[in-house]
Structure formats: C-alpha cells, structure tokens
Assembly symmetry: C2
Homo-oligomer: 528 residues x 2
C-alpha cells in the first residue's frame, strides 16, 4: 500500500534530502486504469488574499486626477455619430468634426459610479453560472489568436476543427470557467458567418458562459438570439440575466472605433456585460513609463466606462487592464514581465477605487511551451491573484503573445489554475489536522506512511497534478525523458478521446441549427 | 532608432493585438557587441509586501500551543551527551538513556525569545555584507546536490571543476547574494578534505557570504579559520561579525543526530548563524495533513532553537521551513506544489510569531529544465515573497528535487530572481512619470516611439531579461527555435568566459593556500 523504497532522508545541507526510491517499479502499486484525468471539481472561486498595494493611496489619487485631466483637456475620439449623440446628450463636450469628446471630471465620476460592483452571468446550465466582481475569481479560455499549435502538427492557422477541439477541452476542464471570444480563429470558414458556427459550437459542445465579438451589431444580436434559444429564454429575460460577455479593446492612444462602439452599444442595449480594455503597451501605444501607461489606461477606461453608463445606466461593465511593455530593441510586445506584474497589481488598485469588476490576463511571450512560457505565465497569474483580478482572461492556452492558442499550454495552464485554486483553499486547524496522535504513533525517527492518520487520508491528502512528473530521474529517463509539454500533449488527447458533449434538448438543438442555417442564408457566404 | 515594423494594433478580442514586426531584421538597430550580460546591479533587497496570512491569529496560536504540547509530552531526541548537559543545566527534562528531552512550554518561550530578530553577516568584500531578518531578502545559490547537469553533458556526479564553475557563476550574477553549503558535491575529491577545497574556492573565486557544512567540529573550525584569513580578522573579531553561515536539517520526526549537534555547537561557540530546518515532508516524515506537518515543524524548530539559546544566548539563528509533501502514489518528494506554497506562507506566520529570521527555498521536482521546472519554481518563489521569507535558500540552480544542480537552471532562476527584485522596486508617481506631455505629443491613434519622453528614457525603461526570447515566431524559428534552456546554456558559457575572480591580496591568498595544504597533511587523504 505504501512505497517501501523510501529510504531515510537525513543529513545536513539537505544533501540527501531527496533520495527518491530507486526501485519504484518493483514496489509501485497497481497503475490505475487510464481513464478520466483526475481534476478538482467545478467550483466557484473566491480570492481570499488581500491584494498587494504597489501604489500608496496618494499615488492612486494622483493617477486618478491625472486621468481626469487627460479626459478634460485632451479627450478621447469616439468614431460613432450615435455614440457622440449619447455623449452630448449627457453633458460631455463633443466636437462633431474631430469626434473628440472631452469630459468634465465630475461627469466622469458621476457616470462611472452608476456601474454595478457585482453581477451574475447565466449559462444554459445553471450550475455553470458565474459571479463577477467582489472577490469572485473566474478563469477563461484563451481568446482570439489567429494560430493554433500542438506538438504533433506545429503552428498553423486555426481551423473550425481546432476551435471545436479547444471548446471540448474547455468543457472537459473544471477550472476553465468561461469562454473567451474565440479559442482560435476558424480561418477555414467564411469570414462573415463564422461567428454563427463559433457560437453554435460554444452552445452545443460546452455549457460554459461564453463571449461574442463586438464588431458591429449583427454578430452581437446573433449571439444574443442563440443564447436565448439554447437557454430557452426570451430576449427580455436575457436582459435581466446576462448570458453573453464581451471584451472591447480601446485603440490606444485615445481612440474607440465605430465598429467597436456599435457592437458595444448593441451589447448594452441588452444589458450584457462589456469589459473595456485599453490597449496600452508602454513605449508604443502609451508612455514609456509604467505610471504614464497606467494613467492613460485609466483615462481611456474611465472615458469609455462613463460613456457606457450614459448609454445604459447600470449596465454591467468591467474595468480591463492590459498594460504591458514592448521590447524597446525590437518593438515586440512583452508579457509576463515585471512591468506586466506591476501594471496588473496597480491596475487592480484603480479598478477597486471605482468599485468595478476587474479583468486582466494570464499571458506570456514565449514561442514554444518551454520554461519561458511557464515562468512568464506564472508571474502573470500571481499578479492576477495578488492584484485582485476578477476575470483572468486568456486563463488557459495563450502562447506567443496571443498569436497562438496552444493545446499543450491549455493543459499546463489548467493545471496551474487548479494549483492556484488549491492554494486559495482555506486551512482547517483542529485536533484532527494538528495530527498529534500521528506524531506520537510514528515515534522518533519513524515514518508516517503506516499511521492510522495517514491511512485515513492519503488518497486525497494532496493536490495531484495533471502534468508534473515526479518520478525519480532513472524512471523518468527510462520512460523517454518526457517534458511537461509532452505530458500535456498526452493529456489533451485523452481528454478529447473521453469528451462527452453536455446534454441539450433536441428541440433546442434543432432550433439552434435552424437559426444558423437561416442566418447563413440571409448573410450569404463571403470569403473575403 | 525605433522599430518601424510595428503596425497598428487594434481590433476587438485582442485578435491582432500582438502583431509583431515581421521584418524585424531589416529595421533593427545595430546589435550590441556581445559582451557582459546585462543585469541589475548588486543591491540589498527589502521585501515591501505585506505577507499573506493563510492562518488566522487563532490558528497560529493553536499550532503554537500544539507544538508546545509535543515538546512537553513527547519531546525530541538529542543524540549528543554534550547537548544533553546543556539542556539539563538550563532546566529541560533530560532522559540520559533514551536521549529524549522534554521541554516545559515556558522554558521554550523564554529561551527562543533570546535569539536576535536581525543580524548582519560580513563578507571579505564589505560591499557584499548581508542583513538578515526584518524585511531583508537574500537569495542563495543552490546547496548540496550530489549531481550536476547541463545541456551538453547531461546529468552526472558533480566534480570539483563543476563546483568551481558554479561558484564563478554565482560571483557573476548580481542577484545571487550568497552561497549555500556547496553548489554541488565534488565527488572526485577525497571525502574528508574536500571541505577545504570548497571553502578555498568560495573565498578565492567569489566574495560572497558563504556557508559551511555543520557535520562535526572540524569542518566548521576550518571554515571559520579560512574566513578569518580571507577577511584579515581574528577569531575574536569573527565572533562579533559573523562570516560563516550554516543550515542544519533536523532528522524528522523529532531527532537531531550527534554530528549535526556537534557542528551546530561549534558554530554557536563562535556565534555564527545557524538555520534550523526540520525535514518535514508531509505523509512521510510528518503527518499527512499540512497543518500537522507545520505543527511538527514548529515543535522541532522551537526545541532546537531553544537549545541554541541555552547553549549560547543571543547567538543568531534562523527559523527554517521546508515543509512539503510526498507523492502518496510513489513516495517521491514533491516541491513547488500548492502544499509547499501554503507551508511556506504559513511557516512565515510562525517564524514572525517568534520574531526570527525565516528561511525557505526555491524548489521544484522536475527532471529537466522544462515548463514544470519553471512553474514549480515560480510558485515556490512567490510563496517565499508572499510568505515574508528572509533567506531564499536554493535560490538559483536547484533541479530534480535537489538531487541535481543545473547550470541552465542557475541562469533561468537568476533571471527570475531579478524580475522579482524589479517587481519589488517602488513605483514613483510624479509629473514626469505620469507622462501627460507624452500623451499629448503622441496624439490620438499615434505612437510613443518618437516622443521626447520616450527618447529620454527608452534605454533603461524596462527590465531586460537575460533569457526570455521575445522575437517574433518567424525570426525565432529561423534562429533554430531555441528554448529558454538553450538560451540559458549560451548565457552561462558566456558568463564563465567573461568571469574574472575578485581581487585578493597575495599574502592572504598565500596564507589560505598554506592553510589548506597544512590541514590536508594533518587530515591525511581518505577516499571512503
């Protein structure tokens, strides 16, 4: 039942501290039948940690006031006549020729304060509903790379098949709570109707909260109608129970384009949540100082968030942070850097100043699933956790600065997200966990493998990773020296092989199919 | 001067957000002559973050009191007559036959409170002195693996040459502040005199604070004498300015062997700092519950720390935490796990309860420098930072659960330690960093590459990693798709090629050489 090859580990300097059992093979217990990968159960997460405060309260105020100066003196460009009408109506200073909108500081604060601090999104499976804001914590699947990669076929443009497989993986992974806008672009589908196939895949292959792309009106209304069909609800019901999420990126510096604004307004017309994320890569689209980039991020976010509440007071919105830096030698964006960590943590202080749900991301700039991809992602993930982020966008699968969705990275990230969940689980201190009886039973110089305390608990005592290989070097080498990426490759294939789609009533499925077919007819296929 | 291949990055869903310059080669600035690897300067670190509190104050007290119950009712075994004399003299309940010592709770608290909260260690280069305790933060080189590995020659038993090269690397890396006990065992040197060659290498190839192995008396007195020669001081002066560090591992559960106690007492006779680290791998050497393991860790640490202050009141000691878990399927130790993170963070709460400097480690259980090695190490590192650790033992280079020192891992860890230092650097918010003029100058939809604000700052604006590869995929692929481990391989070779030993006066050098020669004669070579 317990390993016997486990020798006495003693000495100084920890020299021999990790003498692993050499003859593991001889002594190991029967291998479990390869079946479902062991995971933590689905569960809503709350972040119990007090966020790090990188900025003093005075510094937060200084950035806040500087942001308001930008909005008052320089303004933002809103490239939509409809948006300009709303802004003018609610008191902003609108220049119709330049489309530049300037905001009185009080106006900004007044409208931003109308946004809710917390809200809930519903999925067609009510057990998968998600709470946003407060100390709720949500991990999403990677969103919107054009390329996909895996160890077998390398990096290539994404296809519908890849998109579906990534959605199946999300559905199979308990710690990936919601979908981004698309797990990868389906480059093999017609451009003007692929959103229909994507939403159809989200709704039939998974039961998670999903997102839609807010470019223009049509994609949003299609997603809304499809969410209603899948959930068996009306548009009016959806208004009170948001079921479609989106993220829009401001075209930093200080511009919001027409298509984005139109999509955003369509979302807000149905009171669906919109994350507003300035695209502030320090040195390129925002000042080379991190503080300057955060100031611009904050100005852009506040301006557009104020607009959201002018358009639809009380509509749920999210403060999005994406501030990172570029490599000043090449211009390449950098992610998972010290600057990214600081930007994410300080951004959280700003988001909380406005009592808004906060979105950041699990990012890295590596080109392969190597050590760099892992340490940059872990740095970003800790920044999210210690920054009080509510929505960890791109939670699993992002590679190459967001240009590629990696099947292996989905698995490694999911394992890391699970470990973070486990770290956040409260500790229980009582007579049973203190374990004094076990300490007495083991005796001096003994071991605990056979104590009653261990026997009662060993099966679920510790987190069991999906990916990490803890075999001793010799066994690992005999097995072909597999890397973490190779383990992940095996795991995603097993998850796909074992995948089962969530149940959907035949009439809803039929209605969804019909909707997609009808809309494709109306749109007419167009391939660029 | 600035990259021009950097296209407009806009859109929603961040689909195109990371469109990197495709034609980087055409536009890049002249490559700097490959010379010294860019690093952050040497600098004492202070951790500005408030530690995470995983345990409530009541839970800390519950563990504290349970630990005292263990010491009162079960006791620890001290396998040294000399130590037993000290313990009996100061009021502990000593059984000479079983060597079991039981402690009255008040006695433990009384003596533990005599240990200093902070102290300083001197190096032969006074600019490399280190402060311990408070919020001081020190990163050490990996300590004591029997094996070494690099990409060229794989994993093999360590040699004196490897040992020297790892010391040269430490000396070349500004963020590796001190040496462990040995960077790798020199298996090619005679066992009973290799400590002389090691300390000689520490003192001539580097100028960092170093450690010695506390097994018996002789190794310690040799290290103390050599530190005195190198520093040009007497033994009496060393007593007031500690210059030799050590770590001892308690042979958990509840045993301290004679050789360790003898080495420890020799250290304390000269008032040199001793870290006391119970070897509590949950499920094997301590209860399968993390809380139980922490309780045993705390009991063992308190008992031996109380002994230290009975032996030499006020001598500097360090509360060491090493609680992790074993894989209950194989018995293999696991590191960089959720349990390790929680153990490290909660351990910090205990160490601070006693106002003692706190030691934990940067650990992982991977067999190669892959993604696993990186995410486990990053998790451990964040646990150290958010747990208020003062001495991050095994800071750079540890692989395979401590059985191997990896040259590539030294570099990747050093880069990660540097990034952590950068994250902890305070943010400055003033008119210059807020950058409003740059935001005005860049204009709407413009870019910041050419603004005066950027030009003044771009060269040192951001952390420049040693290892991370931020080239676009095409350039990276053209360069042979190097992994982070391959970059690290290139870097350690370059650092060794550029290595220059620190200055040492010829007379001190000669005295050191003579000391080693004389002691080897006295000892007589013995090869097991």
């Amino acid at each position: 039942m317990f390993p016997v090859g486990f020798g006495r580990l003693s000495g100084t300097g920890e020299r021999t501290l990790t003498a692993r059992p050499k003859s593991r093979r001889r002594n190991r217990r029967p291998v479990r039948t390869p079946s479902a990968i062991k995971q933590l159960p689905w569960g809503a997460l709350r972040n119990p940690f007090t966020p790090i405060e990188l900025l003093s309260a005075d510094q937060v105020e200084a950035i806040h006031h500087a942001s308001l100066r930008i909005l008052r003196d320089m303004g933002l460009e809103f490239m939509s006549a409809e948006a300009l009408d709303v802004l003018r109506r609610e008191g902003a200073e609108v220049d119709r020729d330049t489309q530049i909108v300037k905001f009185d500081p009080d106006l900004v604060e007044e409208f931003v304060s109308k946004a809710p601090s917390e809200f809930e999104m519903v999925s067609r499976n009510r057990d998968r509903n998600l709470k946003f804001g407060g100390n709720n914590l949500i991990f999403s699947l990677v969103s919107s790379p054009p390329n996909v990669s895996d160890l077998d076929n390398g990096r290539r443009p994404g296809t519908y098949e890849d998109q579906c497989n990534l959605i199946r993986l999300m559905h199979s992974l308990n710690t990936v709570h919601m979908a981004g806008i698309t797990p990868v672009e389906a480059m093999d589908l017609p451009v003007n109707s692929r959103h229909l196939d994507l939403v159809h895949a989200y709704l039939t292959l998974s039961d998670r909260v999903f997102s839609a792309r807010a470019i223009g009106r049509e994609r949003i209304t299609d997603a809304i109608d499809m969410a209603c069909i899948a959930g068996g609800i009306t548009r009016d019901e959806l208004v009170t129970q948001p079921g479609v999420y989106t993220n829009i990126n401001i075209n930093s510096p200080r511009r919001v384009d027409n298509e984005l604004l139109t999509g955003m307004m369509e979302m807000m017309a149905y009171r669906q949540p919109v994350a507003v994320t300035p695209f502030t890569l320090a040195g390129a689209m925002s000042p080379v100082t991190l503080v300057g980039s955060l100031t611009q991020q904050n100005a852009e976010a506040l301006g557009v968030l104020a607009f959201s509440q002018m358009h639809s007071p009380g509509t749920p919105v999210i403060y999005g942070g994406f501030t990172s830096n570029v490599d000043m030698k090449s211009g390449s964006p950098a992610f998972g850097t010290p600057e990214y960590v600081k930007g994410t943590i300080a951004g959280g202080q700003l988001a909380r100043r406005y009592r808004l749900p906060y979105r950041s991301s699990n990012v890295n700039a590596a080109n392969s699933v190597d050590a760099q991809s892992a340490y940059e992602s872990q740095m970003a993930l800790w920044a999210n956790i210690m920054g009080g982020v509510n929505i960890v966008w791109h939670g699993a699968g992002w590679l190459e600065g967001g240009l590629t969705s990696s099947f292996e990275k989905v698995i490694i990230d999911a394992d890391n997200l699970q470990m973070m969940s486990e770290i956040m689980r409260p500790m229980i201190v009582d007579e049973s966990t203190l374990g004094l009886q076990a300490i007495e039973e083991a005796g001096i110089g003994g071991h605990f493998f056979g104590t009653a305390h261990t026997i009662e608990r060993y099966e679920n005592a510790f987190y069991e990773p999906m990916v990490s290989d803890w075999r001793n070097f010799e066994s690992w080498e005999e097995a072909g020296s597999p890397s973490a990426a190779e383990h992940a490759n095996r795991i995603w294939k097993q998850l796909l092989a074992e995948y089962e789609p969530p149940a959907m009533s035949p009439d809803r499925r039929e209605a969804l199919d019909e909707f997609v077919a009808r809309r494709k007819d109306e749109i007419g296929e167009q391939t660029w």
